[in-house]
């Protein structure tokens, strides 16, 4: 495609160089955290600075898992990880299903209040978490959802459904109605027509909605910090705060935990990024 345009060698090198610089800027602050995770604490705050780790160590990881002898018990990182995974995956899957239903309704039906409802879904996302947090807490405590995974899953559903509706709406609009109609004439029910014709075509859109939903839930802090309290439901980003006490912040431990948060997200993104881009291309715009 565009890369096929006629380029001088110097142009190609200039582009590569510019790209390298850009990616370096994106990576370095993050990589620094990763590097810190493998340093002993004295080296982190050293003055003059120590650039390359002199004594690389896995102790920070061992410590948060409580594997170092002669130290107090580690943090319940395994619990946090499990909670994060359960909450993010479940809420992503349900958000995709529920959002897809909504997107289909918007794409294929005419009904009263359609425009207002669509806008309403979008605007529900504009409410800042900080303004929501207390009333949400009060409502949730009445419902007994404080410090439960279900409570968090429902919250993340509400955050992720609007975007999913939007993306899938665009996708379904793009699939000609004739296809589904033809299938229905051939004896399929509308339900069967949906799963056989429309769903497969919308798959990459769903994949990109899913990765956005997953990353949002995986990284969300503000509301999780309000609603979760113990290992029942506490997620990884909330667990980061375990490294801050009144007088101290344990940078090394925090960085080690950060690495544990980043890696699954990175792997997942790497795997699905092809669908992600394809999904975004057609989802939001045409339609």
């Amino acid at each position: 495609m565009s890369a096929r345009m006629i380029e001088q060698p110097w142009q190609r090198w200039a582009i590569r160089f510019a790209l390298f610089v850009a990616l370096a800027i994106l990576c370095i602050p993050g990589l620094w955290v990763v590097l810190t995770a493998f340093r002993p604490n004295v080296e982190i705050m050293a003055r003059p600075p120590v650039w390359i780790p002199q004594h690389p160590t896995l102790d920070n990881f061992r410590r948060i898992f409580g594997l170092l002898p002669a130290e107090q018990q580690g943090l319940p990182v395994a619990d946090y990880f499990r909670n994060s995974l359960v909450i993010s995956v479940t809420s992503t899957i349900i958000a995709i299903l529920v959002g897809m239903m909504g997107g289909y309704a918007f794409a294929r039906f005419r009904f009263r209040g359609k425009k207002a409802m669509f806008l309403g879904f979008m605007l529900s996302r504009t409410v800042p978490g900080i303004a929501l947090s207390l009333p949400l807490f009060i409502v949730w405590s009445r419902l007994g959802l404080i410090d439960t995974k279900i409570g968090m899953i429902v919250i993340y559903l509400a955050i992720n459904i609007p975007f999913t509706i939007w993306l899938t709406d665009g996708f379904f609009r793009q699939i000609p109605v004739d296809l589904s109609d033809a299938a229905q004439i051939d004896g399929c029910t509308r339900w069967q027509a949906f799963w056989k014709i429309e769903f497969p075509l919308a798959r990459s859109g769903l994949a990109s909605a899913a990765i956005f939903a997953f990353l949002t839930s995986w990284n969300e802090y503000a509301l999780a910090a309000q609603i979760t309290r113990t290992t029942n439901a506490k997620t990884m980003p909330v667990g980061l705060m375990d490294f801050t006490a009144q007088f101290t912040v344990d940078w090394a431990g925090m960085s080690a935990m950060a690495v544990l948060i980043i890696i699954p997200a990175l792997i997942l993104t790497f795997i699905v990024q092809k669908h992600l881009i394809a999904g975004l291309t057609f989802g939001g715009v045409k339609g």
Binding site: V42, M45, I138, S141, D242, T244, A245, Q246, F247, T248
Partner: protein
Amino acid sequence: MRPRFKALLLACAALAGGMSLAHAQEGYGKFDGYTLKVKLIGGTQYEKLYTRIPEWEKLTGAKVDIVSSKNHFDLDREIKQDIASGSISWCVGSNHTSFAPQYGDLYVDLKPLIPAETLADYVPATLKASEVDGRLVQLPRVTDVSNLYYNKDVYENPDIKAKYKAKFGTDLAPPKTYDEYKQQVIFLANPPNLYGTAFPGKDEGMTGRFMELVRANGGDMFDDKWNPTFNSPAGVAALQWFVDIYKAGAVPAGTVNYTWDDIGQAMAAGTLAIDLDWPGFAAFFNDQASSKIAGKVGFALAPVGSSGKRGGWSGSHSFSVTQACDNKKAAVSFITFMTNYDSEMMEARAGNLPTRTKVFADVEKEFRDKGNTYMAEMFGTWEKSLETARTPPLIPQWIEVSNVLWPQLQAAIVGQKTPKEALDKAASDAHDIMEDAGLLK
């Protein structure tokens, strides 16, 4: 039921007086099958004590369910949410003297529940500071007050000492007054690798450091009618002190954005000559694994201000029992156990200031016997400063007042306002807060 329990505690107190703790154990009652829900402050410094929980469980047959464990500010927010939503389903909460007045009648008065004989073992001033409107709403577990840590690499460096003597005609030694403190930190600063000192430049930390100096200068935050008085000459002089050392570059410019952890880290990294700080840092500074100045840390009493007094800002971490608690006896038994002699010895061995009078002497002796003069000296120094230390005003509006004050202090420190302008503005805002609260007399 109460009298019997009282009798038990009385027995306990009597025995504890003789320190035969093995026999005192039956004093904690029996609560077989009961589950006590507690909210405790988290963080390594505080969690060591919780290893004693299984022991209490064994003694009493009860179970402890830690329903929350967070740092102080998050815990505060959570407790407020619980009050707001009317979901106080727990019995014991970690508390702090600065925060306690905000919680209204969330917590019970412990005086009728704990025999006077037991309470007599606590440091009287600490216990007094744990009261709000005459109600003992919390049982103190560790006390905080600040004194000076100094880096011996700097203070005992012959070169620096000679230059200091040549310039000021006196020997370089840890400062006795705030004026001397200022003179030294300005002289010693050699950025970027060494600063004179650093101070917490935001949140309650900034307010507290300022309050200390106001009091040391003979002023105070409020008069007895609750009019803000921190914009008095004593207050302006206090703020000027911070402005001066900031302007002179004796502190890192980022200090206005620092909190305790940043300062502790900077001291441990050897980039500060002297540091007015909490007792909990003593062990941290002397730990080879985390500190570059291990083995080179000296202690000195906090300096005095222009009134010749120390303004010591104290506060205590504590445990409280909720009104809503369905088994207050178990809860009181728990918090008494968590602050008993053995518990307090454990806190003290970890470098925290205990709240029982006897523990001070005992732990100091224990450290000395083990040859750890460093920690022994720490307790000696800190105990002396406790006598004159005071808490911030114990009113629910304290944090709110602090929140209108510290941004103004910052504004003056970074040169955006004059100290007088800044303090007048803060005092007028604080006046409104006190008026709205109906506290003004």
